[in-house]
């Protein structure tokens, strides 16, 4: 009997969002939410959130235990150090147990380095897993922000779930246009609408793979099963799938399929080649790869890949390799050519 390599790790949700998208409001509501017991929330600046003293049960230099059982932690030297210290203090009983971490990133931040930290730091990788990236987009100003800055595009590209916030402050038409623009950058992330701060903690979890045991969750993770909540919603996201894009963005999603199995050597050689040639234009890679007949889940952000995860079985009858690339200025044909080139070299 072996351990499931994912099941025991503490899930981490990254919360990103453009300036003004309501991130601070969301965080401060989460810190007061009764269902946030045993969740550690890492925030940049406690002062910004403004926690009432009567909500704080205990506190140390960097960590406050709130009345609802939530641990509020401010970032120390850096996030890496903060997450290491949190795990160490938890294990030593210096802070109460927590089962989940939510991290607020700053509005201007590209979330990629944070994800890469989780993937590349051995100690963090042993104890934490990325659950996913949640991105908040301001309904009224989102389109303008997308046009003016690069970061919002990254935040959308890397998102597993996107909340269009402040929908009560924008017309349906604006929200539909924004949804369409988001869909072009990231057609696979789930898009939900919300008004100010009305998110439940459960909306921010269950985004990534939590087990190496294959099932519907795996297909959902691969974007091959739509979540039921979205299926039921007729509206923006439905239209968004069909509306033509207003502009031709640099960032796009490419889905590649390979019916011949790879050897691990040939697959990793192809990925290494792509990274060495176009690493900085690779935003995110996610997929299931047939390695000598066996299913292996791969995930990468930028040039950093998480350790490959062997599933116990195929999640469906489809045993082809399916890989989704979110890239900047790369065409699908280019990626295919690189894979073919590696295949030729290997034979």
């Amino acid at each position: 009997m072996k351990r499931d390599p994912l099941a025991g790790k503490i899930p981490v949700t990254l919360i990103t969002g453009f300036l003004g998208s309501g991130k601070t409001t969301l965080i401060s509501r989460l810190l007061r939410h009764p269902d946030m017991d045993r969740v550690a929330v890492v925030i940049n600046e406690i002062g910004e959130i403004g926690i009432d003293n009567d909500l704080v049960k205990m506190s140390s230099e960097n960590v406050s235990l709130l009345a609802n059982g939530c641990l509020c932690c401010s970032v120390r030297t850096d996030l890496q150090e903060t997450l290491r210290a949190l795990f160490g203090e938890r294990r030593a009983g210096q802070i109460p147990d927590f089962d989940r971490v939510m991290i607020e990133t700053t509005g201007l931040a590209d979330p990629a380095p944070v994800i890469q930290t989780l993937a590349s730091d051995t100690m963090l990788g042993a104890h934490y897993r990325l659950d996913g990236v949640v991105t908040l987009v301001d309904a009224a100003n989102g389109l303008m922000q997308l046009a003016e800055n690069a970061e919002p595009e990254h935040q959308i590209a890397l998102a597993d779930r996107i909340f269009i916030t402040k929908c009560d402050l924008a017309s349906d038409g604006v929200v539909s246009d924004l949804t369409a623009a988001i869909r072009v950058i990231n057609p696979r992330a789930e898009i939900r609408r919300c008004s100010m701060g009305d998110l439940h903690p459960n909306d921010l979890i269950g985004l990534g793979l939590s087990s190496a045991r294959a099932g519907d969750d795996t297909l959902h993770f691969l974007g091959e099963l739509k979540p039921s909540a979205e299926n039921n919603k007729q509206g923006a996201s439905y239209l968004g799938d069909r509306l033509p894009a207003r502009h031709d963005p640099a960032v796009k999603t490419l889905s590649l399929r390979f019916d011949q199995p790879f050897t691990w050597a040939s697959f990793s050689a192809a990925i290494e080649l792509i990274i060495s040639l176009r690493g900085k234009d690779m935003l995110r890679v996610k997929g299931i790869v047939n390695v000598d007949g066996n299913p292996v889940v791969v995930q990468g952000v930028g040039h950093v890949f998480h350790p490959p995860l062997s599933l116990d079985r195929w999640p469906s009858d489809d045993t082809g390799s399916r890989i989704v690339f979110i890239t900047r200025n790369i065409e699908a044909s280019t990626l295919r050519a690189l894979f073919s080139a590696v295949e030729l070299m290997q034979t």
């Binding site: 072996k2 099941a7 140390s60 009983g93 210096q94 147990d97």
Partner: protein
């Protein structure tokens, strides 16, 4: 404000969920014997030996792990004897009897028919009492016919009274008539041995050259894996019980502080997991560890890593003992969890801990559960003593004083 040191009242959990806790009707001071019976009527009965009198053993129906119920709890004949250890195969249960001093009775082991769990029926008693013997400390019984014990014997006179437990093999093919078929002791410990007496550990750590766990598995019925306390880890060739020979010996002490408790072979991987036992309070005999030993060569076992120990600062002064003790021993029985990679152990005040040994050079701690201090705990903290994991992957662990039984689920 938050306290800088951990508080013993605080429960600490990582990837383990408490399903239930049972104080065993006020007699929750438990030894190091846990075994499961799949009774004829389908119930799962967990049998546990008590740490000390007045109780002997307790059977708990754990068919529904969230609702454990005591079905039987038995008495010791007097206050100077304890059971400490037991094992179950089918409807047969073997229970140790260890007396406080030599020359007392009952000192040996009992064989029970537990076909009706509510009414254990005594079939026989194997007597080990004598002028130098305190009887049986630990039993190993997994094949239904052979009991391997760490025990004194009426005719075994040690040079040093601390060396009173030797390894003995007892045939109970006829459960009513146990018969000794073999024994082995550390050379030089018996009066009359030609070998020189072994050098002792420093007085504060001298716990004796004597057997503790004496494990024999069906994968290698010709080998006994013995934790020989201050004598280290020893593997014996028992193919001829009348002529037992040592084939492997590894001892970390000195410079470490003795008390090798369990030698658990991982057969497919050529490894042993070796646990120490902490026997002093407040970290006085720290470090007591779990070791990974490369045992591919009988003649030259090589330690390759230690399991990541619970943090000293958090536990050493938490109350009572702090360090390694019992492991779940992959019992070769259908009711037992068996794994070549996941190892589960108890660490007294540092709770029960689960390790992934997939990389034997870099063992990972993947789960733990440290109960808050049980009510009226004399040590001021939990003292988890022994652990058993069943085929449902449920973890049963018990406190040395008062806390009783904790049933946990592993979320890994």
């Amino acid at each position: 404000m938050m306290t800088p040191k951990n508080r013993s009242t605080q429960t600490m959990a990582h990837n383990m969920t408490l399903l239930s806790h049972h104080e065993l009707d006020g007699f929750g001071g438990m030894g190091e014997g846990i075994a499961m019976q799949h009774a004829d009527d389908g119930r799962r009965i967990l049998w546990m030996a008590h740490e000390s009198a007045p109780k002997n053993f307790t059977g708990v129906d754990v068919t529904d792990p969230k609702n454990p119920r005591v079905v039987v709890q038995t008495e010791m004949p007097h206050m100077k004897v304890r059971s400490n250890s037991l094992d179950v195969v089918g409807n047969l249960m073997v229970v140790a009897n260890q007396t406080k001093d030599v020359n007392m009775k009952p000192a040996g082991f009992d064989v029970y028919d537990i076909s009706t769990p509510e009414h254990p029926k005594l079939l026989s008693h194997f007597d080990c009492s004598g002028p130098y013997s305190r009887g049986v400390h630990a039993v190993w019984f997994v094949d239904g016919k052979t009991v391997h014990i760490s025990s004194g014997a009426p005719d075994f006179q040690p040079h040093n009274p601390k060396d009173d437990q030797i390894y003995r093999i007892v045939d109970i093919s006829n459960p009513s008539k146990p018969v000794e078929t073999g024994r082995w002791w550390y050379p030089g410990t018996r009066v009359g041995d030609t070998a020189p007496q072994p050098p002792r550990l420093p007085a504060q750590f001298d716990t004796g050259f004597r057997a503790h766990n004496t494990n024999v598995f069906p994968q290698r019925p010709d080998r006994a894996y013995v934790g020989y306390i201050d004598g280290g880890a020893i593997v014996l060739d028992i193919s001829n019980p009348a002529d037992i020979k040592m084939v492997s010996h590894w001892n970390h002490s000195p410079p470490f502080n003795g008390f090798t408790h369990t030698v658990l072979p991982l057969f497919e991987r050529g490894l042993w997991v070796v646990s120490d036992e902490c026997v002093q309070d407040d970290g006085k005999d720290w470090p007591k560890l779990v070791w990974m030993v490369d045992a591919r060569s009988d003649a030259n076992p090589v330690p390759i890593s230690t399991f990541p120990a619970p943090p000293y600062d958090a536990f050493a002064k938490r109350g009572g003992r702090f360090g390694a003790h019992n492991l779940h021993e992959n019992l070769p029985l259908p009711v037992s969890f068996q794994s070549d990679t996941l190892i589960i152990g108890t660490f007294f005040n540092a709770g029960v801990r689960v390790y992934d040994t997939s990389n034997p050079y870099q063992v990972e701690e993947v789960a733990y559960f440290v109960p808050g201090t049980p009510r009226l705990a004399p040590a001021g903290a939990i003292q988890l003593n022994d652990v058993f994991v069943d085929d449902r992957r449920l973890v049963y662990t018990m406190d040395r004083f008062g806390g009783g039984l904790y049933i946990l689920e592993m979320n890994i």
